[in-house]
């Protein structure tokens, strides 16, 4: 394996972890805490440190939705997938968001300025159907509202 500045930095970050000690998730969390996501090189470094296959690390990282393999967007839009929102037509909201922004769930715009995320109900169902822009609840939304909002978001993210 080739050692680069990036891998050496990650190597230092995960140096405390040991093979056979159930350290994989701790290592992944630590890397995500530092970089905001788990970079590809990090999986190789963690695998080597913990004497695992790289595939093992990747399989674990993809299993947990908490762990992400792409850089986080500057602005995150969460679409609530909860049943109350669904009943009040959140599917239309989702379709609008995806078509106007041109990205699917768990994807970022090309410049990583805006990202869509599928979220679970947070209990504020009186605002259904709703989305959260950087954690702030926006709703109730009609399809028309969403079009307007999505266009604004898209302009901002240029």
């Amino acid at each position: 394996m080739l050692e680069t500045e990036a891998t050496l930095e990650i190597q230092q970050l995960v140096a405390e972890f040991r093979p056979g000690n159930a350290d994989l998730l701790r290592a992944l969390h630590k890397v995500q805490h530092r970089y905001g996501y788990v970079p590809k090189e990090a999986m190789g470094v963690i695998a080597r440190q913990l004497r695992l296959g790289e595939a093992h690390v990747y399989g674990t990282a993809t299993f947990y939705s908490e762990l992400r393999l792409t850089p986080p967007p500057e602005k995150r839009v969460d679409w609530c997938s909860g049943p109350a929102c669904r009943l009040k037509g959140s599917t239309h909201v989702r379709k609008v968001l995806e078509s106007v922004l041109g990205i699917g769930m768990e994807e970022n715009t090309e410049n990583d300025k805006l990202g869509l995320h599928l979220a679970q109900c947070n209990g504020t169902c009186d605002f259904a159907p709703q989305i959260w822009v950087d954690g702030k609840v926006v709703g109730p939304l009609t399809a028309a509202d969403t079009v307007k909002l999505a266009r604004e978001l898209k302009d901002e993210a240029k």
């Binding site: 590809k40 004497r51 296959g53 595939a55």
Partner: protein, 890 residues
């Protein structure tokens, strides 16, 4: 043993064996889509349900173990219906809708599905049609007949989403995840059968998918392309890329891989006279169900049209086609002329470590009986004879009785002295990993591994984490490390007294120190401690695996002596069975056994070439060998061959030696031959023809016996070469060569089991003094040049110097330590020049941390053995060759 009843038949099976295996072994069918023989059950597919009397409901036969008096029924209506329902759930996520269709046999690949026009992916258009386990399972469970259609009335949602992207970006595997049923066999095969762990389940829930490495392309992961996952895949998800669509074979032929001395037995599927697919064949119990990328894919490294299809004779600067008769007559005439003018000793013969025993036997017969010359050898001869001499002196016999299957089955302590065993002898490395990290049932006690290598290989990762140790000497100091180890062992009072009792003299090996070997003192002490424990536990098996380098006879000889010393100190008289030599090429042991070695005052291959330069040797017959490619000092070899009056080459490919020949007689491809090979532990194995002979090519045994007959007539010798088929030669070998008595060509069923060794032989054991030179420091701008056999470069492709000899292009360059590269301003992909005096080699640099600082590594087969130009001719020195490393100016 337990006695149980399966479908009314009483059978016996070991207590605790998995029921599913017992059912299959007794000839009953049981559907199972996730079980892998010998591995712990996964119980993911749930299709192996059976009825067991007294058990509640239906039971999974994979998780059930055999008990006495068990009554099992696999064919009741309940069982069948339950399996059908389970299978219909699996089918629902598979793209091919033909599986459960009763009219599949009526459709043609070009037809549109008459039942549903949205169906675009069908068994009929799938490359695995009629050789697919999922399809067979559906057929055998009558899914079509009983119309168990999971998608009846369904909205065909499968076809609404875009199928996942296939990965066709590498030359060996095709990975098309749309057919995947997530049985995870590939994941477990890669983890548990291969210890590689390149495949994983990614994601969760409905979006779960198979992924390689960190989710990228297969060739970006740590996949070794062994194809174990292909063998276990029940669908067309993972398949061989070469001949993917042709591999519905006409027939299968059981033969032997010729890529290294492990000698994995393989089954070659052929069609239209060409091999199109290779699967492992478990005749050889050491390779068992595994092969490596070479065995599986190198069969088509060279196209049939690039093989020699004509016999050639030199006319001026060109080689012109001729007939077999003329080529033979011309050769005989020229050889007879040399014989008449200069005597028998002006003629020399080279056999080959990749030719069959039969061919090598004939070569030495012609040399000894017809011509009467003592000059017989092969390119790999000097190195391997040096090892054989060292083992003979140490153990009293050259033919070591050790059985390689002891390593995965019993060895508790394993010492590996090899450059990178993973690359040179992949399956041997795999079996060592099996011993260190046992995953197969029944689980054995894990062993410990000591690796001695200057260059990091995958095996090093199996040392420290499993309680072993990796000793990394300065390049060329392997013998020094072994010497220091032996000295540490001899200092132990118990070992010394045991050695004296066994008739050894420990004083021979004492007082060597590790001062200049570059190995860390603590690591060395750790290794010695492990070996002391192994010596103390007399009932535990020890294995020392020694894979000699291909060049540097003097260094190899010292390493072999030093390794034998360590084995003797650890296991005393039992060492004979625990010392394993793995030669690089497939049939080195066969060539040695057949007597392809110089007699008395005869010259070895280097001597022959020296004599050719000096004009003493005027004629050379080369059968299957390629000294220009394999010997160090390339220019000297070429010059020597150019001086010959007559150079006769019998070969399958027009390699560089053949290009210099006066007569080239076309040989059949290795996989088109009948014959026998003897592998590293002298398992005598049978090659069978699976490939047509291109054009006029004739198997070498035919050419050689005709050459022998005619040459004998011309020289007035009454020597007969009366063979009608290769079997006749084998038969003669079994009568004349010691150790081969038990083999017969026809009607013999012990191939892969019998070994040409005397198992009861007890020779005189002895410790030998080892001469170790302190390593010379690198000169200004110099680096140590390491070479070796690598995994991906095909021998045949390299012989023709094909650009695609290494289809992955991982090995066609020089590996440079990344710190050295920084110091010299070399970045990855830069062209660098390696210089040794006038000889120069320009290559692409690959940066790595695996090669030690102050050294570079070039594959010995890169560009037809181009690195041979930089290696000094064999000169009796143990020093590592050094070259200047310069960045090429753009």
């Amino acid at each position: 043993m337990a006695k149980l009843t399966i479908n009314g038949k009483t059978v016996e099976a070991p207590d605790g064996a998995p029921l599913v295996e017992v059912i299959k072994q007794n000839g009953f069918y049981v559907s199972n889509l996730c079980y892998i023989d010998k591995l712990p059950p996964y119980a993911g597919c749930r299709t192996c349900l059976v009825e067991i009397e007294g058990a509640r409901g239906l039971q999974l036969s994979c998780t059930t173990t055999v008990r006495d008096d068990m009554v099992v029924n696999t064919v009741t209506d309940d069982v069948k219906q339950a399996r059908q329902y389970v299978l219909s759930v699996i089918d629902a996520n598979h793209s091919d809708r033909c599986l459960t269709c009763h009219r599949r046999v009526k459709c043609m690949p070009g037809d549109i599905c008459l039942r549903d026009d949205s169906v675009t992916h069908r068994c009929l258009t799938c490359s695995k049609n009629y050789r697919c386990e999922l399809q067979t399972t559906n057929d055998l469970l009558d899914m079509g007949k009983d119309s168990v259609e999971p998608w009846a009335g369904e909205e065909r949602t499968y076809y609404e989403a875009a199928p996942p992207e296939p990965d066709r970006g590498n030359p060996f595997f095709e990975f098309d995840p749309q057919m995947c049923i997530i049985c995870t066999r590939c994941v477990r095969a890669c983890d548990d059968l291969r210890h590689t762990g390149a495949v994983t389940l990614a994601g969760r829930g409905f979006s779960t998918a198979i992924a390689f490495g960190a989710g990228g392309a297969i060739d970006e992961s740590n996949c070794d392309f062994c194809g174990s996952c292909i063998d276990v895949c029940p669908t067309a998800t993972l398949m061989e890329r070469p001949n993917k669509w042709l591999a519905r074979t006409e027939d299968w032929v059981s033969t032997v891989c010729n890529s290294c001395s492990v000698g994995c037995t393989i089954s070659v599927g052929h069609r239209d006279g060409k091999p199109v697919i290779v699967k492992p064949d478990s005749l050889n119990p050491f390779s068992d169900d595994q092969i490596c990328v070479r065995g599986r894919f190198h069969y088509d490294a060279v196209k049939q049209s690039d093989r020699l299809a004509q016999h050639l004779v030199r006319s001026g600067d060109n080689l012109q086609p001729t007939t077999w008769e003329e080529a033979l007559d011309y050769s005989v005439e020229q050889l007879a002329a040399v014989h008449a003018a200069h005597g028998a000793k002006a003629i020399a013969f080279l056999g080959s470590p990749i030719a069959t025993n039969e061919e090598n036997y004939l070569v030495q017969r012609i040399a000894r009986e017809v011509v009467g010359t003592p000059h017989i050898d092969f390119s790999a001869g000097p190195v391997n004879r040096a090892v054989a001499q060292a083992t003979a002196a140490a153990f009293g016999t050259e033919t070591l009785p050790g059985d390689l299957t002891d390593i995965p089955e019993r060895a508790k302590t394993i010492l590996v002295v090899a450059d990178d065993l993973e690359e040179s002898h992949n399956v041997a490395a795999l079996r060592i990993k099996d011993a260190i990290d046992p995953r197969k049932l029944p689980l054995r006690e894990p062993g410990r591994l000591i690796v001695i290598t200057a260059r990091r290989g995958e095996l090093c990762d199996f040392a420290e984490p499993y309680g072993g140790v990796w000793l990394q000497p300065t390049p060329g100091q392997e013998a020094g490390v072994l010497g220091a180890l032996a000295s540490l062992l001899a200092d132990d009072a118990e070992i010394a007294s045991a050695a004296s009792e066994a008739g050894l003299d420990p004083a021979v090996v004492s007082a060597a120190d590790a001062g200049s070997t570059g190995v860390d003192g603590a690591a060395l002490e750790h290794a010695a401690a492990i070996l002391r424990e192994a010596a103390a536990a007399a009932d535990e098996a020890f294995a020392l695996v020694f894979a000699p380098k291909s060049t540097g006879v003097a260094g190899v000889a010292e390493s072999a002596k030093a390794a034998a010393n360590v084995a003797l100190l650890v296991s005393g008289t039992a060492a004979t069975r625990s010392f394993f030599v793995l030669p690089t090429e497939a049939n080195v042991n066969g060539a040695l056994d057949m007597g392809v070695s110089p007699d008395g005052d005869g010259k070895d291959v280097n001597g022959i070439l020296e004599a050719a330069l000096g004009g003493e040797v005027k004629a050379l017959v080369v059968a299957g060998d390629n000294p220009i490619m394999h010997l160090p000092g390339r220019a000297r070899v070429q010059e020597a061959l150019a001086k010959l009056d007559i150079l006769v080459v019998v070969d399958q490919l027009l390699g560089e030696t053949a290009q210099q020949a006066h007569v080239v007689i076309a040989d059949a491809p290795t996989y088109g031959k009948d014959g026998t090979f003897a592998n590293a532990d002298r398992r005598v194995q049978r090659l069978r023809a699976a490939q047509a002979h291109p054009g006029d090519a004739k198997p070498a045994w035919e050419t050689l016996s005709a050459l022998g007959t005619r040459l004998a007539a011309s020289l007035g010798n009454a020597v007969a070469f009366a063979y009608e088929e290769a079997a006749d030669v084998t038969e003669e070998i079994t009568r004349t060569v010691p150790g081969y008595e038990k083999f017969q060509f026809h009607g013999y069923f012990g191939w892969g089991k019998g070994r040409a060794v005397d198992e009861s032989a007890a020779g005189q054991i002895a410790l030998q003094p080892v001469a170790v030179d302190a390593p010379a420091p690198n000169g200004e701008g110099e680096v140590a040049l390491l070479t070796g056999r690598t995994l991906y470069t095909s021998l045949e492709g390299a012989t023709l110097r094909l650009a695609d000899a290494d289809k992955l292009h991982r090995e066609d360059g020089v590996l440079v330590n990344q710190l050295d590269a920084v110091a010299l301003g070399i970045s990855a992909g830069d062209n660098v020049v390696l210089q040794d005096g006038a000889a120069e080699l320009s290559l692409k640099a690959t940066l790595t941390a695996d090669v030690p600082q102050g050294a570079v590594f070039v594959s010995s087969y890169y560009d037809g053995g181009a690195v041979g130009a930089l290696l000094p001719a064999e000169n009796g020195s143990t020093a590592v060759p050094r070259v200047k490393l310069v960045k090429q100016q753009a």
